[in-house]
Symmetry: C2
Subunit: 523 residues, 2 copies
């Protein structure tokens, strides 16, 4: 495998990282006063604690080359890609490194590892793309003989394609582009494009109930999944006899979002689509965030959603335009919306005409395709920018939530206020809506502020305040970033003690020795 | 309350029951040889076993008039409306009658009843419309001091309407038409029309994951629910912070379909729609069931579903036409499809044009609106016909399943064969598809045969064979009739031992004394 592997302190392909654009550096200087805050790169890992007998036994199960204790391999399986993860790594703290990285070839090997781990009290952390941003890879170590990173990277097959039912069975280790490439050979696609698309995996999408940038057209990942195979310490579960049914509770929904705490997802059967012949992305301008989001609500409730729809608030619009001033962007105020249509020419024609008519009637101004194409071009690049900003003394992170339409404005105000109150008046708080439903929408915040002396503590305080603001507003702690370890206190408030008790009961039933991603997700 | 209450041996409003149409009686005579098989109507109920102390204590909680042991009230809360339920009642067996009927006024009273029942080991069977067709109201009695029917009929409020988010909070005791009438005062509707619509309740729709005749346009009931309040013996659970999120598994989906075994649903927040200004139902003719179902598949996969779409197989088409011969029906062979469009005039225009174009291109012949209107008119009447047929020696029942498109034909053949093999060659097996998805569809069978000496045993044998055929074909045991007691053996096969273990673990956590609908749903 010649995949790009990510360093614990930076995003993505080192070759893809670019210096901060001059315009952005200028903005940072102006707003915050840029200063160099380089990452340490001479960091030692803690030694592996995996006992020789376990190493030998696991090697017998998987083959020697697939049980790895080498530092360089363990290093790139340490934590995920939240700003706290990066800050810890930049400061030289890799204390959450796994004791070994295991690479099972198939379902049976996963099951065998779980059996062995349960017997010998070894914690098992399923690992896909390593793009977690809420601490989902930082399992509790206490009381376990070792922590094993169960890297699913060898499980990369497209196992079945059914072009009548329009389903495909994918293995969990496939990254987004890999899955799409295999499906494209059959003229098919999944259509799931979260910002982490280039690195995140099918198993991760399922385990975290991921949602992509085309969710308006193609749905959330949990809505794409029609079947699951799950390995648990108690045995294997096969779910998904039909698109939908009334045969008791839908148990698929208990494993979607289970974040490796109930079992390891070893295959998913997903709904697939024909590859679109046409893709058009266009920009629209709105007088205000309120006007633009009202238009989104109307489209969703009138059954007129395009494939992609996202709306930046005034701050995000202004900053995007300012940072693109060298490519002809100019701020005329208001808010920018991206609208994308994909499908056959006939489908796109009909839908585009109806959506254009509706948006025009609601007060939007069409800005043409240039800015839409620019968005599509740069849609996966933001995490690189964060690294560059962390290098020059800027604290940057994102957080997100969702609520019902009637509560959108209050949620927006409360979270914004929590962030500016804790981070100070220099803090920039940007927001966009990128996932809409008939009854509500997501709110995705990007925050930037000058780094304090202890940027980690600085961020954790702001994050806690914003999280509490979400729960106090009756909203969810996360629309598509999952619970991990970071969101647990607020997730506990969200589902209450009975909800948490149910999750613990399911965990105890499926994983009685508690080895699966301990400390993650369950409050 | 002056609601129509259903007798245990017949469907619906006695005033709505009509004699068998002459044409149908003629058909029965010709096919099976009609003979009178009247129901007994002098049936004694078993005496209530509820001890005086419990009666007094429950009366103190709810008020004396809401704890009822009178035979006439207990009688109409006995079992549901499957053909086995009716056959048992017709033969004079009302041994499953509850020992008392409780009518709580609100959530707190439900919670108080559960507390008391858990402490004193009284079984609690939540009761909505009494339209269950899989034994979901026939709880296990053994080991319990008494069985209480928890009739939610007093919980009939429309609690909240949010026309921005387009949601409404409904109480569980509202019947379909009652909920729609309250919503209509706000210009809104739910759009959920199962065949049981006139009697079934909001709580029942949620607890059984019901699906209505407009599911193509408005979705399944579980897709309409965005929030739930549930009373459990361990406390109250509030779920639904947002349309969708990634905050752990979606616990709403654990209570949708839980059939009263995990808790009592005391409120649901549902997605609502504007009342349609236009409703058009039209008929289409297809050369074969295969051709018609292929057209349904294409519409679903091309995003062109109308509000209603249903397709009868050759047998069902022929029988419907024969029984309507007095209203101008004539059999020209092939298969009948009903296509319904609802919405604003503009929405209906666009959608109807696209669907018509597609269906014509796929080989369908438009038959106009007359037969579509006839379907809409008679859509809730079939259960009355069953009673009339049971009266003349015909065994009639329905059963249903769902699968992926690629497996539809094999499933159809296997279930049909299981039914004709067990019921003999005189048996009529009719089928329609009334719920379609991108990846698959439901199959709904209606079966008629001359009654054997023991029609109950005759049916149970046929039902078991058909159920095993479904599971053997990899399909679900039920698309929208739920598990109840009747489907448990096959549901257990469908989810396997690990799936069943999860359900038992959740049950043990929420209902440690096991009082909630004992013996129902969980294998």
């Amino acid at each position: 495998m010649s995949r790009i592997e990510m360093h614990p302190s930076r995003w993505g392909n080192p070759a893809g990282a670019t210096d901060l654009p001059a315009s952005t550096r200028g903005l940072v200087d102006f707003a915050f006063g840029a200063r160099d805050t380089p990452a340490r790169d001479d960091v030692e890992l803690p030694a592996s604690r995996l006992a020789a007998e376990h190493l030998a036994a696991l090697a017998a199960l998987l083959g020697e080359e697939h049980v790895i204790v080498a530092d360089d391999v363990r290093r790139i399986r340490t934590r995920g890609k939240s700003t706290p993860d990066l800050l810890r790594a930049r400061e030289g703290d890799l204390s959450d490194a796994p004791d070994a990285v295991l690479r099972p070839a198939d379902h049976d090997q996963v099951a065998a590892v779980l059996d062995y781990a349960a017997e010998h009290h070894l914690a098992v952390v399923p690992f896909g793309g390593g793009t977690a941003v809420t601490g989902g890879l930082a399992a509790a170590r206490d009381g376990f003989a070792a922590v094993l990173s169960l890297d699913l990277c060898r499980m990369q097959a497209l196992r079945e394609v059914d072009t009548v039912s329009m389903t495909a069975v994918l293995e969990p280790g496939l990254r987004g582009p890999e899955a799409e490439a295999l499906l494209a050979e059959h003229g098919l696609m999944l259509g799931h494009y979260p910002q982490s698309f280039e690195y995140a995996t099918i198993g991760g999408f399922a385990a975290t109930r991921s949602s992509g940038q085309s969710s308006a057209g193609y749905g959330r990942f949990d809505a794409m999944v029609v079947g699951l195979t799950v390995a648990t310490p108690c045995g294997t579960l096969e779910l998904g006899t039909s698109p939908a049914n009334a045969a008791g509770p839908d148990l698929r929904q208990l494993f979607l979002g289970s974040e490796g705490a109930f079992g390891v997802i070893t295959a998913v059967r997903v709904r697939v689509k024909r590859l679109p012949e046409v893709k058009v992305y266009e920009a629209w301008q709105w007088d205000s965030f309120a006007a633009g989001s009202e238009a989104m609500r109307r489209l969703a409730q009138d059954g007129l959603l395009p494939t992609v729809i996202r709306l930046s608030d005034e701050n995000e619009t202004a900053l995007n335009l300012a940072s693109q001033s060298d490519v002809g962007g100019e701020s005329s105020g208001g808010c920018l919306m991206i609208v994308g249509h994909e499908g056959t020419p006939a489908q796109v024609d009909v839908r585009r005409r109806l959506v254009t008519e509706a948006l025009t009637g609601l007060g939007g101004t069409a800005l043409g395709e240039e800015r839409g194409a620019a968005w599509a071009e740069g849609r996966f690049h933001a995490p690189y920018l964060r690294d560059s900003l962390l290098d020059v003394g800027v604290l940057v992170e994102t957080l997100e939530t969702a609520t019902f339409w009637a509560d959108r404005e209050e949620l927006y105000a409360r979270v914004s206020e929590a962030l500016t109150t804790t981070l100070g008046e220099k803090a920039l708080v940007l927001c966009h809506i990128s996932h809409v439903y008939e009854t509500g929408c997501s709110l995705y915040f990007t925050v930037a502020a000058p780094q304090a002396e202890d940027p980690l503590a600085q961020w954790l305080e702001a994050k806690a305040a914003a999280s509490q603001a979400m729960v106090d507003a009756g909203a969810t702690i996360t629309h598509h970033h999952a619970v991990g370890t970071d969101h647990k206190p607020w997730f506990g408030q969200e589902i209450g003690p009975i909800g948490a008790s149910i999750l613990r009961a399911v965990k105890a039933d499926l994983d009685p020795s508690g080895i699966l991603n301990p400390g993650v997700m369950i409050p």
